[in-house]
């Protein structure tokens, strides 16, 4: 084992951890007597600096293997996901500057950075144990962040629910992992995929299916797919706004990056193997129908349909904008799971999913930013507290218009491109009736989603304000939100920009 090599492989994570400790020391030692505003700004800026440093390190990081088993990947999907995690983390920290929910900004930022480090590990992990470590690191951070508003009972309740669900799903995941280990005798994803292929060949399929169902439970919880979504509305509602934005964006990116790793590994099992006297030729086609992928896609497709249908329908009935965003997140997770269910051998699907989750994360952070500002001014996140926002703060109104229309998938905003990209990738994998009807279903439900996004925008633009006092936002928050909205418009008008950036991470085909 070469520790210098390991250090180089985990350089981004290491930088984040160092930054986390540095923030703690800085906040507790130097700024202890300073005003709370200064402490928040200082901690947030240090955290952002850590993210930027880690972002640079992502391009230096190398893959890491223990013996023949790959533990951490670098570049490719992992690289994109790591960059996305760091950028989105920095944005959520920018939104913290205006917040006053905590007297311990140092701890908050440190926990955010550690959770983000967990996200980085998940994005790169190629081994069950590393995956589990990363997931726990991220999840524990998220539980703490959810509970960070100590004055709010809702925050504590949400954290408790999140923690209990999370603990249970982690148990399921670990149980599934143990079966996989039992089948394959290895914790390396690639080996497991190979061995699971032979397991189905020799009649071990039922055990494999059981393992996969368990894993789907665990990961379905992380991405908030129906029926493992119950924590999401409560957490989104109870957590402090920047924490909710972090959960809705960074944690999603990391979890979907993990699903991409699994999909990629499962499909790239082709090759020629000799087992005893048998010579087995595994083609791409066979890999799609046997072994892991054979039942995995079906599980994902089921979760996807359930999430699309339930998420969109439940969002229709919400009166709290945070809960509305939670259900819309469930619906969006459903669309992405569709892309994972019909995953391409080439990196088209992976790129499309990353495009989707990156832009979705960006949009959600912006949406939570606006919700946070409105909440501080009106004391509530109910639909009616958005009444007349265009008059009370025209810029915030415009930002919300752009972001929500993007979430609804109206061109030329980026959300539309993300959807188009994703569904084109799904249909590109197979032109059969099943993927086609599922895409049709997804589009039909995105028409449903327009209704609830318009419910919010209707209050912002159409209905008269009950209270016309202007709402002031901190300049930093306002600039961040405007930049996010501008990015959503620009990336929507020039979709090739982000596409070619993502493509630059993959080796040229």
């Amino acid at each position: 084992m070469n520790y210098a090599h390991l250090f180089l492989a985990t350089l981004p994570e290491t930088i984040l951890e160092i930054a986390a400790l540095f923030v703690l020391v800085f906040d507790l030692a130097l700024l202890r007597k300073a005003a709370i505003k200064t402490r928040v700004a200082g901690a947030a800026l240090l955290g952002i600096a850590g993210c930027v440093a880690a972002l640079m390190a992502v391009f230096v990081a190398v893959p890491y293997s223990a013996g023949a088993d790959l533990l951490l990947a670098a570049g490719g999907s992992a690289g994109v996901a790591q960059c996305a995690i760091l950028i989105l983390t920095a944005l959520t920290l920018l939104l913290l500057i205006d917040c006053d929910f905590t007297r311990n900004p140092g701890e908050y930022v440190a926990v955010v950075l550690m959770a983000a480090a967990g996200g980085l590990i998940i994005a790169a992990a190629q081994d069950l144990l590393v995956i589990f470590t990363g997931l726990e690191l991220l999840s524990l951070g998220l539980y703490i962040l959810t509970a960070f508003n100590k004055q709010s009972g809702k925050s504590a309740e949400a954290a408790m629910k999140y923690y209990l669900f999370g603990g249970m799903s982690a148990a399921f995941l670990l149980f599934g992992f143990s079966y996989l280990y039992g089948i394959s005798g290895s914790t390396s994803l690639q080996k497991i995929v190979h061995e699971s292929y032979f397991a189905t060949w020799f009649g071990g399929a039922p055990l494999l299916y059981l393992a996969l169902v368990m894993i789907a439970v665990g990961l379905g919880f992380k991405v908030a797919a129906v029926p493992f979504h119950l924590w999401a509305p409560d957490t989104y509602e109870g957590a402090p706004a920047p924490a909710a934005a972090f959960i809705a964006s960074v944690s999603k990116v990391a979890s979907f990056a993990l699903l991409i790793s699994i999909g990629t590994a499962a499909l790239h099992a082709s090759g020629r193997y000799v087992i005893g006297q048998f010579v087995v030729e595994v083609t791409e086609h066979a890999a799609r129908h046997m072994g892991m992928e054979g039942s995995w896609w079906l599980l994902l497709a089921l979760l996807s349909v359930a999430s699309m249908v339930f998420g969109n329908l439940a969002a229709l009935a919400q009166i709290s904008v945070r809960r509305l965003l939670a259900y819309s997140a469930i619906a969006h997770a459903g669309y992405i799971l569709l892309g994972l269910a019909f995953f391409s051998y080439s990196n088209v699907s992976a790129a499309a999913i990353l495009y989707y989750i990156l832009t979705y994360g960006l949009t959600t952070i912006g949406a939570f930013g606006v919700v946070g500002v409105v909440e501080r001014a009106t004391g509530s996140d109910k639909l009616d507290s958005f009444l007349g926002l265009q008059k009370r703060n025209p810029l915030l109104g415009a930002v919300l218009l752009v972001l929500f229309l993007s979430l609804a998938g109206i061109p030329p905003l980026v959300g539309f491109w993300a959807k188009f990209n994703l569904f084109a990738a799904v249909l590109g994998v197979s032109g059969g009736e099943v993927p086609f009807s599922l895409v049709a279903l997804a589009l039909a439900f995105s028409a449903v989603s327009l209704y609830y996004y318009l419910q919010v925008l209707k209050r912002v633009y159409v209905m008269p304000a009950a209270d016309e006092t202007p709402i002031h936002a901190h300049p930093v928050t306002l600039v961040t939100l405007l930049a996010i909205a501008a990015a959503v418009v620009v990336m929507g008008c020039f979709p090739a920009l982000l596409q070619s950036w993502i493509a630059s991470f993959y080796p040229a085909m």
């Binding site: 109206i410 061109p411 084109a424 028409a447 209704y451 633009y461």
Partner: protein
Amino acid sequence: MLAFAIYISFAGALISALLPKGKPVLARWFALAVAVAGLAIAIAGYAAGFAQGRIVIVDVLWVPSMGIHYMLAADGISRVLVLLTGIAAVAGVLFSWNIDLRTNQFFAFYLALIGGVYGVFLSFDLFLLFVFYEIAIVPKYFLIAIWGSTRREYGAMKLALYSFVGSAMVLIGLLAAYSTSGSHSTALVDLARAGLPVSFQMWCFPLVFVGFGILAGLWPFHTWAPTGHVAAPTAASMLLAGVVMKLGAYGCLRVGIGLFPHGLDPWGFAFLGIGSWRDVFAWLAVIGIVYGALVALAQTDFKFVIGYSSVSHMGFVLLGLMTLNQIGLDGAVLQMFSHGIIAGLLFAIVGRVVYERTHTRQLAELETMHLSRRLPFAAWAFVVAGIASMGLPGFSGFVAELQVLVGAWRANPWWTAVSGIGIIVGVAYIWRALQKAFFSDALPTAHELEAEQAHKFAPITWPEITGVGLLGACSLAVGLYPRILLDSIEPAVKALLAGGMQ
């Protein structure tokens, strides 16, 4: 050059949104300037490309990895519809001269809508066309929901959801065509050349046709139209009926028929005499014509009469498309133009000239107001518009509907026979509205005369006279000399019939 009509409109929308609040005069003149500039470009583009074939304006790769082109082009059909958009835009600004609430925002949404409409008519890439098509949805919602009248939030939401469902169907068709063709390009020309299998076209054609048809008022998916038109502020109903419904019809023509010509082939079996999607949609169009006219006859709200008359008149457009012969398609395109002008005029008179003064649209109440005496301008303008709408010779509606009916006769005489009923009822509902609203028999009592003296209606303003004059003149010009448009439409239709979008 025509492309600048799009850019000017979107830039105008952005600037209008940023104009200072509380200066409605500035916002009005600015919007008028933008709309006139768009019209000038449309006229210049029409004159420059007169009787020419397809002219490509710009064609660059937009998203290289997916083969999506930013391709704007114009053929005879596009140029006619761009011209219509220009005229409708100017007239719409003139008839919203009295908007005082959040004027700059009104014109921002208005110009964004116009920009999207220009974009749809000029796009020759399926994807780009779809993008512009969807851009047009959102401004409509806000225009109606904020500045509308009767049940505006209901009407606006219904309209937005119907449009979005329609466009979702189109998007499904788009994705399917893109992945089936394997041509790795979304340019209409490339997709048409890809040789999509007949079995694929058979199910994709109805999907896309209905998707676009929802916006064109295809029966039985038309119910958004009357409620939306009635709820909308005058300028928005003018645009809705005048150009937005044409977006749907244009999509049916350009994408539905142009891209999936084999979707119209016979199925090989017939049920009740219906043996192809062509028969299905033609009969739906015929039903729309008769149904719209009959329902218009029974309305008590003046604006609903016009709203349902739109459904009836758009039925002629769709029927013309389904004739699949030169004269029928010429008629369909001409009817798009003609109805755009006439419906705009009717909505302007009902919504702006009459309603803003009487504050009621109930025919029963208007009957007691003796409007022919008190608002002679409105009465005579409505007589002219009504005659044009009935399809009397001398106005554009006559030429257009005649061509559609001749084309339909050649395809299936029964279509013509049944739609003839629609024309007769059309005369009846206009007549009824005209009589009830303006020329009621009852003589005013002395008491009423006193009340009239006490509450004089506001005088007719110059924007109203200009707008009515502009629209009336256009309809008359096309009615008297239809070649001015037909010379442009005919070659484009011929090319479309000969080779689809190739």
